[in-house]
């Protein structure tokens, strides 16, 4: 069971308020959709929850521990932020191996299964620089979910994916929710976001404009 509590979180970068007074509560086994146009603050908020960005004021609590003070990063987190970037000279498999060595050490067999799962069965040995955009995206998703993290953050995971890829990712996200992960998702395709999310936060100019609960009332 994991909880994320964002309390009056504000981020100002070079006199530009990118997030203002954001307050959200999130818990395991739920998919949270972040919706908004480019520059609305979705990615910044995701980066803040990962611990890559520090707030100007307010706080983010992961399991009641303050990020940046009590803990530097959430204990168990997987993420894909916009464009995935791996090491060009390495194959997809080598990139995943490198990451898993730092995290938990998944076996090669498990990594192969994972690559198959995201539709990269035959491309595991291919160098990353030779991957198409869609393949890079699939590898990014594989890296995010491979350790079965408690918190999964996916920023535009459907980018550059074909219909089959989108279906695959939708299924993967649903599976992550089923096993109890807290999933934060952003997607420009409103239909997909509504279909997958249990709750949606609409962001505009760094504010939460609307909070929609699936099957419930707007806040």
């Amino acid at each position: 069971m994991v909880t994320i509590e964002v309390k009056n979180f504000t981020k100002i970068i070079r006199k530009n308020t990118v997030l203002e007074n954001i307050s959200i509560c999130m818990k395991s086994g739920t998919i949270y959709g972040f919706q908004g146009i480019n520059g609305s603050g979705k990615t910044m908020l995701m980066r803040s929850i990962i611990g890559l960005i520090h707030g100007t004021s307010g706080s983010i609590l992961i399991n009641e521990k303050e990020l940046g003070k009590e803990i530097e990063f959430p204990d168990s987190i997987g993420f894909l932020l916009e464009n995935p970037a791996f090491l060009d000279g390495y194959s997809g498999m080598e990139n995943l191996k490198m990451l898993t060595r730092l995290q938990g050490n998944l076996s090669e067999e498990n990594l192969k299964k994972l690559l198959e799962r995201v539709g990269l069965a035959g491309a595991g040995k291919k160098k990353y620089k030779k991957y198409s955009l869609g393949m890079k995206q699939r590898l990014g998703i594989a890296a995010a979910v491979m350790e079965n993290p408690d918190i999964l953050i996916l920023d535009e995971p459907m980018n550059a994916l074909d219909t089959e890829g989108i279906e695959c990712v939708k299924q993967l996200i649903a599976e992550q929710k089923e096993r109890g992960a807290l999933v934060i998702l952003s997607c420009h395709d409103t239909d997909i976001l509504i279909h997958l999310s249990d709750e949606i936060f609409k962001l505009e100019n760094g504010h939460i404009k609307e909070h929609i609960i699936a099957g419930g009332d707007d806040e």
């Binding site: 970068i13 070079r14 530009n16 990615t43 910044m44 980066r47 990962i50 611990g51 890559l52 960005i53 520090h54 530097e72 990063f73 204990d75 987190i77 993420f79 932020l81 464009n83 995935p84 970037a85 791996f86 090491l87 000279g89 990139n95 490198m98 990451l99 060595r101 730092l102 995290q103 890296a143």
Partner: protein, 284 residues
Amino acid sequence: MKFIKNILSDMHHGIVKHYMLFICPVVLATIVSADCVKKINVFLKFEKNVPAENSFGDIWFCIYGGMEKYIPTQDNPFKFPVIWTTLFVICALLVLIYPTKDMLGMGSHVIVAGGSRAKWWFSKVIWNISATVIYHGMVSINIMITCLVVGIRIRPGLNMNLQNSIYELDNLNEFYMKSTIPAAIFILPVLISVAMNLFQMTLTFFMNPNYSFMISCFLMIAAAYMLNPVMIYNYAMPLRYTEIYSLGIKYQYGFVAALAIGVLSVVIGYLRFLKYDIIKKEDN
């Protein structure tokens, strides 16, 4: 354990995978050593009456010597020491890109997986020091190979008559004419390089890496122009040590300066990185 994994990962991706970059010091040292050997041969041919035992130290000085104090006069235009500057500029360039590149994309996964910013930073510090030492080590190994090939003794001696003919030195301190150079003199330029590369890495948290590199280059040229203990790169020019040049600087102070700059850079870089936003500039 994660820290060790971080270090191994940095060594692998920052050094092993970029082994081509480490060919630069080999090429540079080979060209300069060959040129120096040629000068030695010319010297031996024309200076038959002068005691002339040449050694590793002579070739090393051709590369690391730097330049004497520059005294600006109308008939003495400033000529920066090309070989010395190239040597240190390439080294600064070699350690410039990897840390900032490693912070984004895949690197952000590595930082989060490591679980601590401190681990990432200190791993980069160890990588930076290792890369710099390997770089200078390769130059020295190359000089040794040259010595073995042309039959020059591998000893830390310095033939000041030869150096004088190469650099046209004034105000020579002839103490080391027939003596050996202390090991400290061979070590100090490497230590200065380590300290300044750490300083450059810390600067990248405050400005664009290109600007931090430009500052490094400026400090090198400024040191060549001005013999002043504040211009830290003076301590990386053995031709300016009082042991060689009577109006020069005491190299012993260079160790204190290198240590102070190195430690301060690491501490300031650490404190800065704790609060640093890991973000692409265009996301700002």
